[in-house]
Amino acid sequence: MPNSILSSSFCGLNFQTPLVLLSGCVGFGNEYTRVEGFSHADIGGVCLKGTTLHARPGNPTHRVYETPSGMLNAIGLQNPGAHKVVNDILPTLDMNETQFIANVSGSTIEEYQEVTRLFDNSAIAAIEINISCPNVKEGGVTFGNDPDMSARVVEACRSVTSKPIITKLSPNQTDIGESARRCIDAGSDALSVINTLMGMAIDTKTRKPVIGNIQGGLSGPAIKPIALLKVHQVYQVAKLHNVPIIGQGGITNANDAIEFMIAGASAIGIGTGLFYNPLICKKINNDIKDYLALNNINVLSELIGSIDI
């Protein structure tokens, strides 16, 4: 395998590289294969779009908008519903190309549980629980900002699946470490850190908010320092339980990726960076390899959490 030095086991999943394509940026898994030179072989895992029990039309437009060093989005979890995803979309994916990970959302604990149950009975490799979506009125971040509720959602999902559970934490909360601890206690096998931060933009000509939903989630390089600190904080808790982290938020090159690994991330999420350059993954992999060679590092795990304080 050409990427062997980059391959690893992530909570039991065989990742061919540490890169994970982030939920909401890559549709239901196949969209980026339209681009010549893009290959799932460069990627450890692909998180599919947030999925709810029933279909959702999503928010009014505009849904995306570039802001300094980043972007706002308020898609509103547009998805065709879990049954359609499991029955119609998953069979079109080639599960040998990479690890496909479901991203589960809901308005109630029961909905999270039911969607998880549906995915448990599918070819999906793992389940990411999104308790941090800032763009829906119920559920999402309102669960993620309350450690008690977060833990209850994870517990409910844990009880219906034996697949690895990755809990996606919100940066929009006071003590992310405490939230991480509660989610791990509730049975989470891994953590995604972080989801977007809430923000807005106003059109000064019309005085209207640019984003149809008024507010949106901020992603991209603008949030990178915040995301890095959150990964560092969560790692202090997660390392005690051997729970790996998918670090994410504004990563656009190998140096960013390596920073996140040093802070404690075992895998590296790429979302907005793909919008900038759809071929970014190949380059990041190659540049990570160069860094490893230059620093005489033989296994990626030597790097993870190796921060020198």
């Binding site: 549709g27 969209e31 010549e36 995306v64 759809p278």
Partner: protein, 291 residues
């Protein structure tokens, strides 16, 4: 099913070959992008990284391509940071483009009398479509009307190609189309001489009204422009009971169908759904997007 689409969009570091400024911040940009040029179709667009200060890409319609020479040409108007930064690119500099993207116009050969209506920065796909028809579909007869409220981004030329039902005072055309033998006329509210004073849809109405019933039953409308214009075009098509394809715009992030950022509500017999302008469009059947 989706696998048919694999590897259809190309990312290229495209060298600027020509970059011409016109009035009111309008520019024609020609770049070296042979892969995009090789398969581009009218109605498709490219997603362009205007500058490293603004990493999110901007969608621009493909106006012309040369497969042999490997270039792609765009016409754009500066409206904000991205297009301003793009306008500063000099010949020889590189811009990163990905394309061609999207569902193109579908030539309706059953109704070969093609009426092309382009407004403002909706002009480029109409030029592209006219060129394709001229090159590939000699059985089709295109007529092009273009509207603009700023001076047209080309030197207007008095036409020698007659257009049915349009007065001789409305005489100006786009020189490129004239050279191809494709009749064109212009519309504007600004009172330019030789240009129809009024909305492009009124000009189109005059033309349609002058056709015989049989001729009119052969018409298909293809259009791109600002949303209010497209709505008026869709209403006109409905009034004359003509098939009509429109090319839409919406803010985009990925432009490959991955983010669902660019959606429009589409109504078909199966009900309403949110479709992505980037890959399900940008061209849609007018009856599905405008009531």
């Amino acid at each position: 099913m989706l696998k048919d689409y694999r590897n259809a969009i190309f990312v290229e570091e495209a060298k600027v070959l020509e970059h011409h400024a016109f009035e009111e911040g309008q520019f024609v940009l020609r770049v070296d992008a042979p892969k995009c040029a090789a398969t581009a179709k009218p109605g498709q667009f490219a997603h362009i990284q205007c500058d490293l200060q603004r990493l999110m890409r901007r969608p621009l319609s493909i106006m012309r391509v040369s497969v042999d020479e490997g270039w792609v040409e765009f016409l754009y108007k500066t409206v904000g940071d991205g297009t301003e930064l793009l306008s500063a690119k000099k010949v020889g500099e590189l811009v990163n483009i990905m394309g061609p993207i999207g569902r193109p116009f579908e030539l309706n050969k059953e109704k070969p009398n093609a009426l092309l209506l382009g407004g403002g920065v909706g002009i480029p796909p109409m030029v592209c479509l006219a060129e394709q028809i001229k090159n590939e579909e000699t059985a089709m007869s295109p007529t092009v009307f273009m509207g603009s409220e700023v001076p047209f981004p080309f030197d207007r030329k008095t036409s020698n190609l007659p257009v049915n039902g349009i007065g001789s005072d409305v005489s100006d055309s786009l020189p490129l189309l004239e050279a191809w033998g494709v009749p064109s006329r212009l519309a504007s509210l600004q009172g330019y001489s030789g240009v129809y004073e009024g909305y492009i849809t009124d000009l189109a109405r005059d033309w349609l009204s002058a056709l015989s019933d049989v001729e009119r039953s052969q018409v298909t409308i293809y259009s791109c422009g600002p949303t209010p214009m497209l709505k008026a075009v869709a209403a006109l098509a409905k009034e004359f009971d003509l098939p009509c394809q429109v090319s839409l715009e919406e803010y985009m992030a990925c432009a490959v169908g991955g983010c669902a950022g660019c959606v429009v509500k589409v109504t078909t017999d199966e009900g309403e759904s949110m479709k992505r302008v980037c890959v399900d469009g940008p061209v849609f059947d007018a009856t599905t997007v405008f009531a």
